[in-house]
Amino acid sequence: MNCKMTDRWTLLSESGELSAREQQLLDAHVAGCARCAGLRAETLGALDRAREVLPSGEPGERVMDTLRAAAEEGAGRGRTLRFRQPVVQVLAYAACVAVALGIWFRANGQASPDHVQEARAILVSISADVYDSREEAGAAGETDELRALARELLIMEGMAADEESGLDLLWDA
């Protein structure tokens, strides 16, 4: 523990994120260093004052009424709608990829430019949705599976290397 660390450790101490050992080290250092004691007091004081003077309030009753109505409408939906469960989700996405493949291969198994474009649009849409749901549901494993399916589709399409990089960019965005 040294003077350079006081400011950050004071912030971490105030937010309850220092370990007991670190807290002891900070307290011991501040007890023997007038400059750091002043800095710590100033930082804690500034945070307290900001909490006192910055605006606070509550949303209007109109907002609460709207939310009550939305809550009434949505309550219980989870009993029947479990579409976003990971296993069902990946099956649904896989089905979408299959549809994309179907569109691509219709017309005697030959892909026309229109079909390719349509299949790509579906893939992009699925990818964006998977990205959103990965954020919400932590479905990283499912994402990998879908990614593999999508890559297979694009490889079958005979796409160029830069398009494959584009898929990576889309996925890792």
């Binding site: 309850g16 945070l47 004052r49 909490r51 910055l54 309550a75 009993r79």
Partner: protein
Amino acid sequence: MMAAGRETSMDPTDRDLLARYRGGEADALEVLVVRYRPTLFGFILNMTEGRDDADDIFQEVWLRAIRKLDGYQHKNLSGWLVRIARNIIIDRARRKKPVLSLDVEPEGGRPLVESIPGKTADPSVRLDGSALGLRISGAVAALPEEQREVFLLRVKADFPFKEIARIQGVSINTALARMQYALSKLRPLLAGEYAELKDA
């Protein structure tokens, strides 16, 4: 440290309330809205330019959350709500395309930061030491976006730095550095203004 507004050991947990809501109890959701109202609304109110904006964003956060609750599996509801709020605020800011910087000083006038729409115009918005508070509020509003966000997530939403870093997608050291920069700009103002407030 638990963020203000989270449940105590006596209250039903977020998970319980969400399960009850999914089971058909609409009131369970209202408990959650009320639980996180002070911190979420406080954060939004200070990140936006007026009471009406804050109302709209708060409402939109919960409407989006309600739509997505079926698939919600996170353990940290308040962090998820703040992420939604943050996305809405960023989207709105992009659409607005600011014409002038807050630091620009018009000819013969005061910096724009001092003329930010009055957050105290609505009596339901509490601002202690109103005029002094408004100046400090203006100084917070003039901070660079990422610093202001860290500052408000800590001060108004009571989020730990670990969570703030996660929300911003940066390391905890970066979040701490942003807080330090924000404080270095606000500290003199907060010290001086507060002395005035106490003396008044």
